[in-house]
Symmetry: C2
Subunit: 421 residues, 2 copies
């Protein structure tokens, strides 16, 4: 599609290393001067879609002003045709040779806002939140720590293992994370105790966000799955390993995860990611027919996690990995969820699971990076970390590298605050 | 409170065995002649609260007409004071000596509708759905089938084990349940296959529904928990045992449950249940301080599950049990969920877990009733059942028995339809 043409240029200046060139145009929700709207990022600006629609410049794309809202859900409800139409129109309006907005001084000043003047909000009202476990490196690492003789469960290569998370505590980047309390049982203790988690960790993930699927009892095949996916975000699935360890058998992770999950504010559309499709690892044994996917099911997305303690002057990169490592891809994940007929809703968030690579510096959690605390991270401040301490900040970054431009996700940031007494 | 006085009588005739005397007044959502509203059940009638508010008869209870809506969420958002105020006012209007509504022919005809003329809708937009596992009899039964030497996990008596379910597929009673397909691995098979579940089961549960809790990072102690609970429903957590068995290690149940969960349409308020509070089983060992609850934390609710196959003329009762059996009570469950700071939202549904008793005829699932298929149910039609077949209908019932009246939950019904090819 023309919106992805690497040669497109905008009349808005975009730095060469910006995550948000005209080829990206991610959607988010922001508040500015008491007003909340859907916006599109370009360079270090935001396009105010609510105003743009009222001015008549978006009225061919959707029937009502679904942009002058406090979440993207009304827009997501409209489905892929509307999503494409809106991105195409914003792309046209921002091209260097288009004067419709550029040439209208009043409207331009009203609709083009500095990103550093706004507050980014949660982009969606989260319907269901599901988290997968789709990196074979991550699953093998975790498995080998807790079940050395049996790291990968028998079902792992046959289906994308996942579980339902808690949607109420999915928060937008920038929201601080209060250290959770919970029930914890030390290995040498006879009984559990209640207190602040001591093993607070990150999980470097991507999430995908859907529009509405089919009615209850109907399924979505892998070949159709991307029709229902709006876009992707960075996702940090904060995890309290000590709470999780004591609670998770037999019904899975619960309070060790449900205190907070952070997502980046900008949703990069699947259309913008299309040029960066990539092959997935070969699946052996072959998966059952309903999970097979033809073609490049994955995306080449560079991912990083950075840490900054209160004693550090600048963040340090903890890990570099790539989303392309994932064993199970998005069409397979969505087809699996839907294979029993459950309904997919606008605003569902699906986490990929921790994205780990094959080398010690490409692991997506501190549990793996520090290998259960046996090899602490050395920080430039002279400090060490096995897990997060109060005051620590973590920032996830992610981007696809094009020829002379990048389609990026911005940041997913959170700071750890002390547990509440 | 006066609304619970056993001597109250209404000018609307209520049969002696009705679930909905004036002492109950449960809230639901219904559609009638193209109009959807919140209603209150009394006898075999419904009070149309949307119209009643517009007529000025409810205007002292809440500031806006939160009743002329398609879900109870706007009303739930207002919290316990509004809930009490609304129920008190409806109780007054329905008392035999009150002529405000009774004496206004036009309004009465508009606001009092036959239950058999309406369609009951989902009472809430489900925010989060959590399912517990709080019957010690159920947990022990299931555990002993799958882990004979270790039926109850070490954490079970220390915390109310639970997991996040899928909110999109919580449906109202009367919605048919299409047999789910899924990945299944037979014990003697080398690899899994994909197909219709053969081990489709019920779980006889109760659910409680909340209003909004505290902001993220704040906790709700057991002593305050009931302030955030609006009421209770019957809940059937349909389960595909074969799908569940293959998928659930290590992250818990997922597609074996997420195809459908049925709830009864009427939410019986915690206030109406107050006269039926009952003691819980003694917890030994004692639980940690944050989970301790003083007083009667449970409710004496009689529960039944009935089955009707296509060859049967009438339903047969499969099991009779009582909610009072539950080891963990609602305040403990809600305090546990909130103990890590996660936020409770209006419309959250919390399932109790299967309610099983101590005798073979008081078990809350077919898996237990038929003990893994080894003692099939004998039906009056000459048929047998180990699990549900296509065309089978299941109805849950529940009620609290007062002196000369009952506070009941109505029915939670579902019929199994064949898997879709």
């Amino acid at each position: 599609m023309e919106e992805n043409n690497p040669n497109l240029k905008s009349w808005i200046t975009v730095a060469a290393d910006s995550d948000f060139p005209i080829q990206n145009l991610p959607f988010g929700v922001f508040s500015y001067e008491g007003n909340t709207s859907v916006g599109v990022a370009i360079g270090d600006k935001i396009v105010h879609l609510g105003h743009l629609y009222d001015a008549g410049l978006m009225s061919d794309t959707v029937e009502k002003n679904v942009f002058a809202k406090s979440s993207l859900n009304p827009f997501l409800m409209l489905g892929k045709k509307a999503w494409r139409s809106a991105r195409k129109r914003v792309s046209e309006l921002l091209r260097e040779d288009n004067a419709e907005l550029k040439g209208n001084n009043d409207l331009r000043q009203k609709c083009i806002i500095d990103q550093n003047q706004v507050t980014m909000k949660m982009p969606v009202e989260v319907a269901s939140f599901v988290d997968f476990y789709s990196s074979i490196e991550h699953a093998t690492n975790i498995g080998s720590m807790f079940r050395p003789n049996n790291p990968l469960m028998p079902n792992w290569k046959h289906l994308p293992v996942g579980y339902n998370g808690r949607s109420s505590s999915v928060v937008v980047s920038g929201t601080s994370v209060v250290r959770p309390k919970g029930q914890i049982k030390a290995d040498d203790a006879e009984v559990p105790s209640f207190g602040a988690s001591k093993l607070l960790d990150i999980e470097l993930e991507m999430g995908f966000i859907t529009g509405p699927g089919k009615p209850l009892s109907q399924t979505i095949p892998t070949a159709e799955a991307l029709d229902y996916v709006f876009g992707m975000v960075l996702l940090n699935d904060w995890s309290a390993r000590d709470i999780q360890k004591w609670e998770y058998v037999p019904l899975g992770p619960f309070l060790g995860k449900s205190f907070a999950t952070s997502i980046s504010p900008w949703i990069v559309t699947m259309d913008a990611l299309e040029p960066f499709r990539a092959s997935s690892p070969k699946q052996d044994p072959p998966v059952l027919p309903h999970l097979q996917f033809e073609g490049d099911g994955n995306y080449n997305i560079h991912l990083e996690a950075h840490i900054k303690t209160e004693k550090m002057d600048a963040p340090m990169c903890m890990t570099k990995t790539n989303f392309q490592n994932m064993y199970w891809n998005i069409p397979q994940q969505l087809a699996h969820v839907s294979s029993n007929g459950t309904n997919i809703e606008a605003g569902d968030v699906y986490g990929s699971g921790t994205v780990s690579g094959t080398t010690p510096d490409s692991l997506g959690s501190m549990l793996e990076l520090c290998w259960r605390g046996t090899r602490p991270l050395k920080l430039p401040s002279g400090e060490e970390r096995k897990f997060l301490l109060d005051g620590d900040e973590v920032t996830l970054k992610g981007w696809c590298q094009g020829d002379g431009y990048r389609v990026g996700f911005g940041k997913c940031h959170g700071k750890i605050l002390p547990a509440i007494d």
